[in-house]
């Protein structure tokens, strides 16, 4: 086999250029989603809740239990009646809102052995009184269908407390873990990497949510929360792998200034590109088959995951790394400014370099001055300082791929 090359290391394409362009896509997605939610929220009678597609778990609803044994005797055909009752119930509507049955379950009473069918559906109107009437109608309809009196049918309104607890504890857990992950990345990498990684993480969750809203048929329920938590814990990996490469490429430049962060970010993305694609592919492979073969309920869980995986792939390359480069530049600039303000001259800091900084500040943005002044070899450093002074703003210390091969210290 020839093998798919997918080798991006030689590609002339620069991921770091026009990084603002990459941010357009997520921003557009978010804006469109807001428009969709607001637009649908105004038109749908269910309001914003319907627009987002909150499931019964978080909304509460009604639970109707029909004692089939009491109505139809002991040899009742459960499946047949369960189906009939479901169809009957779903005929009801308030305005444009039809009842949609969320769960149908079979109950076998442990004491008297009665078989019941239990169906749950989300309230289709916010008005309690109206919903109670609706439930009464449902009760009467089922009684008529079964040809019995209404005593075999009971309904209750189900609260969403448990699901809300789940949501709040999941939110709390995600909040705490994001904070801890941030601390870990700051310790193992740099402060800027930590911030960039966390922003990418937030991007993933937000985009995933937006895209699920677009899908329209995915309810926000407990398994959605599980999907979101999965993405939170997974998507950080992509960013970490790229940042690991960045960390490695940055190693020779330790303590230096005016580093070409853009080029380093670009190189890190390219050299890990094959891995990013392959891993996203293998992860998607399993989830994809589940979504296709697993039926509705599996789809509800897998589609958000697929969306989240794609968002995670995008953010690690187009959000996290450019963000890291941009923030590194501004951080360095801020440091310079502070230094200049205080008038402190550090050992590695030379006059020529300062003039470069000044020229950089007034010069065009894309004329980033990439000077590398090392402190490792004092003798060659002296020479470079001299050169730098001579060349002043006209000299660019070009970032080269060659420099970035990490060499083991002897």
């Amino acid at each position: 086999m020839k093998g798919v090359s997918l080798d991006f290391t030689k590609s002339k394409f620069r991921f770091d250029e026009k990084y603002r362009l990459w941010l357009i896509l997520p921003i557009v997605i978010i804006l469109v989603t807001i428009a969709v939610i607001v637009g649908l929220g105004e038109t749908l009678s269910g309001g914003y809740i319907d627009a987002v597609g909150i499931g019964i778990d978080f909304e509460g609803g009604s639970k109707v239990t029909v004692d089939l044994t009491a109505a139809k005797g002991t040899d009742v055909n459960y499946d047949e009646w369960a189906q009939k009752i479901e169809t009957e119930v779903e005929k009801n509507h308030v305005g444009e809102n039809y009842i949609h049955v969320s769960y149908v379950q079979k109950l076998e009473n442990s004491n008297n052995g009665h078989v019941s069918v239990q169906i749950r559906y989300r309230n289709i109107t916010a008005d309690d009184e109206e919903m109670n009437q609706m439930n009464e109608t449902v009760k009467a309809q089922i009684a008529e269908l079964l040809g019995t009196d209404e005593s075999v049918i009971t309904y209750e309104s189900v609260s969403s407390t448990a699901a809300k607890n789940l949501l709040s504890s999941a939110g709390l857990a995600v909040g705490i873990s994001v904070a801890l992950i941030l601390i870990y990345i700051i310790i193992r990498f740099t402060f800027i990497s930590g911030i960039a990684a966390i922003i990418a993480l937030i991007h993933d969750v937000v985009i995933m949510f937006c895209l699920t809203v677009w899908c329209r048929n995915i309810p926000i329920n407990t398994s959605y929360v599980a999907a979101m938590v999965t993405i939170v814990s997974y998507s950080i990996n992509n960013t970490i792998v790229i940042f690991d490469r960045v960390r490695e490429l940055m190693r020779p430049f330790k303590g230096m200034k005016n580093i070409d962060y853009n080029a380093i970010g670009d190189e890190a993305i390219k050299s890990t590109m094959r891995r990013s694609i392959f891993t996203t592919f293998t992860t998607l492979a399993t989830v994809f088959f589940l979504a296709v073969l697993g039926g509705d309920s599996m789809q509800e869980f897998c589609v958000p995951i697929i969306l989240g995986l794609v968002a995670g792939f995008y953010s690690s390359i187009f959000v996290a790394t450019p963000l890291w480069a941009t923030m590194s530049y501004s951080w360095e600039k801020t440091l310079e400014k502070i230094r200049i303000k205080r008038g402190i001259e550090t050992e590695n800091y030379v006059a020529g370099d300062a003039s470069q900084v000044n020229s950089k500040a007034v010069g065009k943005k894309n004329n980033k001055v990439d000077a590398e002044l090392g402190g490792d070899k004092p003798s060659s450093d002296e020479a470079k300082k001299a050169k730098a002074q001579k060349a002043k703003a006209n000299t660019i210390y070009k970032y080269s791929k060659k420099n970035t091969q990490f060499k083991k210290k002897k």
Partner: protein, 456 residues
């Protein structure tokens, strides 16, 4: 490693995988005993949505003290933590209301005799420490009451290796208990359970840490102690619960879902296995073997650990984690490829350095996920049930994937190298162009100067 040694190791690994797969699905009777062995993959307990379970509905009896909604919510959280304590991580607790009567519904997947537990909840035990041995309200003073002062009750073991019930008082209870033990030093206080005299205790010292134990002269059996502790715990609920109905409840999703999930899983895994071999040749074979070990170990852990009750989300999570497990291998192999390409290193050295240089990325990536899962585990067990199972599955998945990638894959590759250490194609490796190798070789300082004209 010598050739023979590596063949032996590889054979052992293959036999291990074969045995793990067989033991996963095959059932057989064990010797002459009455027990049968069941394939461990079949004994993985399933959550409510896949297997159904037991539903118990409790009627809330309002005794009219304080805000009812608040107390019901408090009871729901207490019930949840009680259920997690007992290992029912996929249980759900919901409240409902009909005509002013409140109900609390508990659904537990059909595992490990939940009926007994649900019955116990409906028979709460009220614990009281009284000042005198009497059931006439005018004759005694309630010093401590379970409902107000008790935070938790659990089974513990005392110095004589007897089962005892350990009591943990809440903040108010701790304070009260300290006062009581001070006041009644060297006097007796009387413990009543459900208004019946249980035992008299002679206070020997002042207890300020809010802990106490209840022991029995003849000793409890574990079951007795466990039952008593559970009843005491239900006695701390803010509202009284009485069993209203108890039923077996069917799965919310059909049996078909499991079947299709397994088929989808098989397809996904098949695609991954083939993909790895196509992309990385012999390295891919090593990854595939490691992946099979990962899958069987993961299933085994899911079967033996009590917190894992697989739900739909759990199955998808496992399949996802299989995709993730490959990730570590991909990172390593990409690194090996790079090492080989840009240098004149031998295959063996490339593999060695590849592993070394990718370990950092793998560990950092996984530690962040481990942090996430541990936080979920801790937060989940305090507040919500269904998160815990997910967190546990995720945690096992990550630890295992690190283990298989960093240990198993490396071992297998170490075995492959002595068998063939020269055939680049077999390993899917390729040298880069000469100048690229030169770059690596040159030990010149890592700084290159280029001058170009820039308009100032």
């Amino acid at each position: 490693m010598s050739k023979t040694k590596s063949i032996v190791v590889l054979s052992i690994i293959c036999v291990f995988i074969a045995l793990m797969i067989v033991f996963a699905v095959v059932d057989f009777p064990i010797g002459k005993s009455v027990y049968d062995y069941h394939g461990y993959a079949k004994t993985i307990s399933l959550g409510m949505d896949l297997s159904g379970g037991i539903e118990a509905v409790y009627r809330v009896t309002d005794d009219g003290i304080g805000n009812l909604d608040q107390r019901i919510n408090g009871t729901v959280s207490s019930l949840q933590s009680l259920l997690i304590d007992k290992g029912y991580t996929e249980a759900s607790v919901t409240t409902s209301e009909n005509g002013g009567v409140h109900y609390i519904t508990v659904q537990v997947p059909n595992v490990d005799d939940p009926e007994r537990l649900l019955n116990l909840i409906g028979r709460p035990a009220s614990l009281e420490f009284r000042s005198a041995q009497s059931t006439d309200k005018s004759e005694y003073e309630v010093l401590i009451s379970g409902k107000e002062h008790l935070d938790n009750a659990y089974v513990s073991v005392d110095n004589n290796n007897q089962y005892v019930i350990a009591l943990q008082f809440n903040a108010a209870g701790t304070k009260k208990f300290a006062e009581v033990t001070k006041e009644y030093l060297n006097k007796s206080i009387y413990i009543y359970v459900n208004d019946a005299f249980y035992t008299a205790v002679n206070v020997q010292s002042e207890i300020a840490d809010g802990r106490a134990i209840i022991s029995n002269n003849s000793g409890y059996s574990y079951e007795e102690a466990n039952e008593f502790a559970t009843k005491l715990q239900s006695g701390t609920f803010g509202v009284d619960l009485t069993v209203y109905s108890q039923s077996l409840i069917s799965a919310t999703l059909g049996q078909d879902v499991i079947k299709w999930a397994l088929i989808a899983g098989a397809c996904g895994i098949g695609v991954i296995l083939i993909f790895m071999v196509l992309m990385y040749r012999l390295l891919g074979v090593a990854a595939d073997i490691a992946l099979l070990i990962y899958i069987t170990l993961l299933l085994w852990f899911c079967a033996v650990l009590p917190w894992v009750q697989l739900t739909l989300a759990g199955i998808a999570g496992i399949l996802l984690s299989i995709g993730m497990a490959v990730d570590a291998n991909v990172i390593i192999f990409e690194r090996i490829r790079d090492e080989f390409k840009i240098s004149s290193k031998s295959i063996q050295t490339s593999i060695k350095t590849g592993f070394k240089r990718s370990t950092g990325a793998i560990i950092d990536g996984n530690v962040t996920t481990i942090i996430g899962s541990v936080v979920l585990w801790i937060v989940g067990s305090a507040t919500s049930t269904s998160i815990v199972g997910f967190a546990v599955t995720l945690f096992i998945g990550i630890i295992l994937s690190m283990f298989t990638a960093l240990v198993v894959t490396r071992l297998i590759l170490k075995c492959f190298v002595p068998l063939n250490s020269t055939n680049e194609k077999l390993y899917g490796l390729k040298r880069g162009k000469i100048e690229e190798q030169e770059e690596e070789k040159s030990e010149a300082p890592a700084i290159e100067l280029e001058t170009s004209e820039v308009d100032a």
